[in-house]
Symmetry: D2
Subunit: 263 residues, 4 copies
């Protein structure tokens, strides 16, 4: 049976990324406390294609991934998966992105009631044949923001709303990446108040007053987040975004910033 | 060239709805003040297929729609389009759904600044060969809600958030349907406060205090909307939904209700 | 601390559904072979609110759900959860919808390679205080369709595409609902060919020829699905939808049908 | 009334982008033939915020945009809008992104029937206080792809599917950007066959056979697109993506590539 993909291409164009997208598979993600959490991953998995080859072998991406569904995944395992892709597909580099919802245990501030908060995470790994490995962690966390201007100019009350902040972060190669749990904590601390899936009335009083006591513009949250991330030992790059779903508009307030610390 | 669709089907199943979905076309929607507004419509257009026919003729749906892009559309034109479908496709009934964003002119409450608010609308028409025509208007409007419990139990502040309420409404056949502009006004009046695309500081003070002075649960907004809709002369059916994007949670508070008044 | 929700409402409107929406939690779903599959659930959970009460207690929905994350869920457990809602919220009825991706084991038709296919499922349960319980299973399955008209009129080739078919089905109360695995099999059998996450070249030849040998309009797939579902012992209601993402258009071909067999 | 935004910030962080997101407004886009097309725009509009200022003035973004709804927009007008933002918000730079569906007139290949095809476009403009202006056009076009491997190895037929390709392109500052209409034509020419909203049976035969006569992997389409874009006079940067919604899988085949030609 002829292997058309394997024929020679004469157009002379090396393709930077080719592979599969929007594939879904169950995975297990290593947790901070030592176990793992089962997740549903949205997958993008590509390789670089040399100029002389007409096509890659699409089925091999799924073959590689199918082996990894039962082993807890973290930074090191991402590298191992990418190495398989480079080997099995004879590629110069490979990229794997796993997006998933991850549940963080939250404790209501007064009642102490426990609940699980969903945060959106992404593991992005890139590996070259020469062995250069890069790992990016992306985390997107919901929060409460309360508008300082609205509080200042109004006789009572202040508009507030749910927002989402996201961080993409890389660490230098001699450092382990931060745990999702720890990054979420750092991010939540910069909001007017964190959100909780389960709040009793005593908690609702607490978060209402806490947000009112801590008014922040989208710019304030972003700046405080930048300061917090700069202080993380070993980080070499981050990008942050904050978006407030304004309760008084039908559009959002938005801020974004990125930094490379190649010191 | 053989017409496979037109061959006889022996399975004996009359299909209730077959046609096209997720088609996009520009349309013009009649406005209350007399002109029209150009919109981008998301289209679903189907007919009933008799048991003896294997397939409908999919290209005719687009042929019919292409003629209507330049004529302002309202209830009467929906009926005319459906009549064409019944005729050209030899069907017992037809259904057309046009979903579109429609812009409402808003005036900021203190500064008087004008701006355009996008609301999600849908025209749904159904016609039978016997001439029974039914028209449903769906409108989805953003709003501000402020929590009465949070206000009551907190020493200061109150959590508030953007919400969306939607209404589907039908009128008796001897009545014209309500204008989008009028329905939006009725809907916004039931919230803690309407939202505005453009607010200067004097307006922000106003809406902050207005919402604080008018705290409403999702249940309150829904009930007040039910009362307002019941009072509309000639209505025979409505369905309402309210959803608050809670600023203190990562999930929403939701309420729904429907009534047929076949008195 | 005052319980505002618990105050008397004088508007005289009993709300049909109020509760939470777009909540996310991990659950375990009972599988056909006896174990369970961990899933990420998108949750809607509501109760009916009597006319004399101003509001429901939103936090109790999350409290109830939090207890069920570690126990495998099927029809019987849905009823138990709903009973808790009716009890804890003093409601006349309750509704719970759990939407989740569920993985089905697939075997490539020639190479025998195993892979996991994601299908969209929903468990919808409704319970009244009087004990009437209704359970609906919804399953949405991807498939390949190949156009009979295109095959017939063309000298070679035939346009084909991915499609999605969905079934909502209820069984009479003395019957257990069908397993997801069995319903998916019935659904896939009606397509021109099923889809597979992993296909080697021998498999690709097989599915290409299988689809070409089995051309079906969206109407054909729908009718064959209706016939297959009618034959299921104990079913009392079903609704089916088929949608082909036409490879020759930027819109979809669509068919829908529903039946109640209250014989 | 105190202007909190205008107070001094001591954190020392200049924010790269702050403004509004997910705003919706009607706009008019200049067409190739000389008139304009009304569109619904999804807007992101931001400025850089100097380190000494606590916040930007969010209402001014909407004020600026409201003036431009009635004037046909192209590259030059994007620059004028950005200049207003820099002036009114005292910013060092500004960025505006307008995403919209644009309709292209298509003619069926045999019957000659006319119809309107929706393509997703984006205008992205960036301007600095020093006057450096950059304009990026993004266009996303649906197409048909037919798999060369499936054709080669199968006795008859070949799997094919809808795909989407996207191009982001910049031209040197002394050149005008390419028209949407011309870019769409170049893009469609690289597919196995273009898609059409309206095809009669004679056309369906034509496109079925045309795609079968022109089998292309996602890699082939991407490479041919790269070659076509390289030949555009005055281009200095492009990024391309191709994605095939495989009819035999529930995931997509994907390829991406970007080039800067700073010659």
């Amino acid at each position: 049976m002829k292997d058309i993909q394997n024929t020679t291409d004469i157009r002379g164009i090396a393709i930077q990324r080719v592979g599969i997208k929007d594939a879904k598979l169950p995975f297990q993600i290593r947790t901070k406390v030592g176990g793992y959490q089962p997740v549903l991953a949205d997958i993008q998995f590509t390789v670089a294609l040399p100029r002389h080859l007409r096509g890659t072998h699409m089925s091999r991406f799924m073959e590689i991934l199918n082996e990894w569904g039962t082993k807890p995944i973290a930074e090191k395992e991402m590298e191992a998966i990418l190495l398989q892709a480079i080997d099995h597909l004879d590629a110069d580099s490979a990229l794997l992105s796993l997006g998933f919802k991850y549940f963080i245990s939250k404790t209501a501030p007064v009642s102490g009631k426990a609940s699980l908060l969903d945060v959106d995470c992404k593991f992005i790994g890139e590996l070259t044949k020469a062995g250069n490995f890069s790992f990016t962690l992306e985390v997107r966390v919901p929060y409460t923001s309360l508008c300082p201007c609205s509080k200042e100019i109004s006789n009572y009350g202040a508009h507030n709303q749910r927002g989402k902040m996201s961080v993409s972060i890389k660490f230098s190669n001699d450092r382990e990446c931060i745990f999702i749990e720890d990054l979420v904590k750092i991010m939540e601390d910069q909001a007017s108040c964190p959100v909780f899936p389960l709040l009793k009335r005593v908690d609702e009083k607490y978060v209402t007053e806490a947000a009112y006591d801590n008014p922040k513009f989208v710019e304030d949250i972003l700046r405080d987040l930048v300061i917090a991330l700069r202080s993380l030992d070993g980080q070499v790059y981050f990008r942050v975004e904050c978006e407030n779903y304004e309760s008084i508009h039908n559009h959002n307030a938005y801020a974004a910033h990125e930094e490379s610390s190649t010191g």
